[in-house]
Symmetry: D2
Subunit: 315 residues, 4 copies
């Protein structure tokens, strides 16, 4: 069925100090992500501050990422917007630039009042790029929408010809397992809650999308490898290390905190745009120090033969 | 201090059966609202499905309403968007077309995490139309933002030179009263919870913005007149009639239900756009019948000399 | 129809430093409340820390208040509990001690899933004291239950013979107005959101229950008097003063803060029980100072002929 | 460290048609649970309708379960109550009857406002049975309390000498993993979200408490056995079967639905008490039919040598 396997990063969008796009940073960022063993990127989503950008900026950013990637890994474009018609424009543009798939959150100003209503809205969006696979982006803690995902698949199966799956960003792994198994695994259900990757693998996850994969993919890939080998003890302990890292991260506003980590790793993505709030100098230092105390950066640097090793992971 | 007094309607945006803008309906709609005694309109807000429209559509709609109005009553343009930069474009455009003021909700995808963060975001938006008064649009049940409005005024006073007030859409009248009295009434706090207009008048409201004013203004103006005359008994009983009307309305999805009422009054504004869901034929008939049973349309029609009478209301 | 008119206080329960009941404080407290012009007290509710007490304590407290009051003013007993059978015991006890009415919140561990379910539960409670009027205690922000109160009246009318009304503690005055007018005003709907008393009067409130009435009743009674006389300007300005007082109060945990105010007025009610958290010494001083700066205590003291004046208020 | 390992059921409380306790059903129910391979029971919790019972009933039920069990498996008693003093009585009683541990939810009428406040309240409860291990019962979706569980452990470590662990009923497995690893696994963190048992095992769960274990333990034990053997494929598929079962269950009010299942298995536990609502006859038949269609009851019956097999499971 040709589902996505491996890890997909949800990259941050680089801005300069004035909040203007800094597209020239994208190629190096992409090279790093490919070197880290990622199999795809998911652009202009929450992490990428899609909703903070203007329409033309979203298109430029998507194109810049796609251009930097070429055909080496997958590029998924998030097209969610309060206006379905704007979403359609973004979807059509994604097709034009050769993206591999599109994805969209539920409307989030007016909230769909039923699964039918949600699926009707998604169908309109998906129809604007009928040749591209479409993923519903389920992220209840940001959109406030808590719908039954198997119902979404059931209705979507009928009315969204290019429905390909769900980006599933929630802790409710049992529902995730239901989606994975819906119609004999027909749909590609990508797991989006990084700090629960190992539990998700247990129930059958093959692919995952996340923000921390933009800088910690080599460590997550080791979890996946240990899991695959059946070395649960090792997988668990490596997963726990990442959980500790996330725990530190979450003491700070998450998107700026992760940008600070990527900066520490050599790529300066600049600040976030309002209404996100940036880290103070002190917060940034505190974050980096706490991660240093955990040995995080050292561990990332000393992974032996990281790239080659990672490339071999084939889920 | 030149605050807005009287009623301002938040008109619906006319679409055709395919969901395309039908701007040609706007002039007649505007004439009706002016004839009904309204002193202003608030366009492209929640009611106007601002978030459901594309950028260029929002501009076209704002312009069409402004052109139809001329300078007869006030035109406020809602410029809220997930992207502050898009909001800025909408704000600049509002200035260009001669709008009297702009207003914006808080960001609603990423939610401001503090009053400071919110006010920083509002300041950026307001700065794009520095010559226009700016109103913060407080509507917690749609944005999920529950912040202390007196704090917003306190911080905004320092950093938003053109801050003019708040469109206050919440039932917490005591906080509304605090805002009205902030800095000796320096700010214009417009009340936005129609079914509580009378209680708001009691604590000092002089102006109000609402959706039901688009079709029931003559009745609300009678409440205001009775209140002004000190005939509380009459004001209360007239207010209660409107509360009963709203109670019926709220059995249905509110925006399509109100469009159906305006249609019954002679102006067909067409359906709503997804993700809003439209009324079925049966629902529409049931709504109209329930309002008929309440004598609503008859009452509206038989208000003696409605226009002249209303025009005299000077709050 | 014999509805309650005037103000009813929801007194705090006096504890000693170890958290034991200090019933001997109750008589003086009651005298103060009667002298302040109150027409009733509502005991063992949220304010009275009913849910923090043991069954036998709740009964002792109810009895002590009733004994101190005699028949001078009304005594309502709150009997809400997670267990309906415990509620029934409390209801029967309330009848035994001669209470004038009972009241109960919705269950709040398992939450009723429908109005029918809620009313079924209330019917069981009310049936344990069939000779006493029963009031449903609607307080959504504490119970998390947001049900349609007119539906509660409609179903309750059929299945709760002693249903007398609702203690309505919410800001949604328009629904409050619907309840007041339900079945030609058959039910007694007592308003419970002190800082919105004036708005509630506007729509027809005749009686109100609240926590701040335990210490600020004379000021609220002046609001009511001005409103009755039709002097809206004066009512509004006096209400605003009270809103400012509440605004200060709410910077602190409300129940301990109000106990501190009553202490400042001469009656030491001791601390609250866990899980409520008490004020630090500094917080207590800060609260009192802020109220002093507002002239609050001075104003209370210098109300001319407070008692006689107040007694004359007949709503 | 002597942590609990294996499965613990949270049994339902048997009532007769009038809602009176039917303690005589308990022995047979207990035998069934022991035969099913359970290693403990958790009585008077949410499932056991603890909050729906009177104090003396809670004690009788706890005693009846303990008496029926003897020392064959563990008996934990839930003592949560809105009143800490009532909780203390329940805790002391649990010690008296020889319970193996006590557990309590956070206060749930007044909600603790900070971790410190919560832990202070728990410390008071735990102190009433100082010789018994104490487990905090974390169940955010029922109590509305979302606190950082590692902070609870950190503060509790200092102020609750008999703190033994947490009954962790939430889907956030990453935090669960943090708790498991807190202080080198010092605390016993029992997993309480049945439909995610396999994911929890992955991160290190050794013990779990749940409602569906009261009737489906043999199937869950097979999941655990496959997991232990490293046969992840089999564990996943057996877990999925249970997820499908839970999905059916959750179409109905969960506690009455589970009582209906236990009844179908031969033990009639009667109805639930208000405010829980019971299944209609039709709903009950529909539930049983859907489970039959899944082959659920047949599968339970035909597990070969269920008891002996299960008894061998030693986690």
């Amino acid at each position: 069925m040709n589902h996505f396997t491996g890890l997909m990063a949800a990259p941050f969008t680089p801005f300069d100090a004035k909040g203007e796009l800094r597209l020239e940073t994208i190629p190096a960022y992409v090279e790093k992500m490919i070197a880290d063993g990622l199999k795809g990127i998911f652009v202009c989503g929450s992490n990428g501050e899609g909703p903070n950008m203007m329409m033309e900026e979203r298109m430029e950013v998507a194109k810049a990422f796609k251009d930097a990637v070429g055909s080496r890994i997958k590029v998924y474009v998030h097209v969610g917007h309060t206006s379905i018609r704007e979403s359609q424009k973004l979807a059509a543009h994604a097709a034009e630039i050769g993206a591999d798939a599109i994805s969209s959150v539920a409307a989030f100003y007016f909230k769909p009042g039923s699964v039918k209503n949600l699926v009707d809205a998604l169908a309109e969006i998906a129809s604007a790029a009928p040749q591209l696979p479409f993923y519903y982006y389920n992220i209840p803690h940001l959109t406030g929408m808590n719908m039954d995902m198997t119902e979404v698949l059931k209705l979507g199966e009928k009315s969204i010809p290019n429905l390909k799956g769900i980006k599933y960003t929630a802790a409710t792994i049992w529902e995730y397992q239901l989606c994975l198994n819906y119609a004999q695994g027909k749909y590609d259900i990508l797991f989006g809650f990084d700090e629960m990757l190992l539990p998700a693998l247990t129930v059958g996850a093959k692919g995952a999308i996340g923000s921390t994969y933009t800088f910690a993919a080599p460590l997550y890939l080791q979890v996946m490898k240990s899991f695959e080998k059946g070395d649960m003890e090792d997988a668990r302990s490596k997963m726990f290390y990442l959980v500790e890292m996330v725990k530190i991260l979450l003491k700070f506003p998450p998107i700026p905190a992760q940008k600070a980590i990527v900066k520490r790793l050599g790529i300066d993505l600049g600040p976030c745009r309002l209404p996100l709030s940036n880290l103070t100098k002190e917060d940034e230092q505190s974050l980096i120090k706490q991660l240093d105390d955990l040995g995080f950066f050292k561990k990332l640097e000393t992974l032996p033969h990281a790239v080659n090793d990672k490339q071999k992971v084939a889920l």
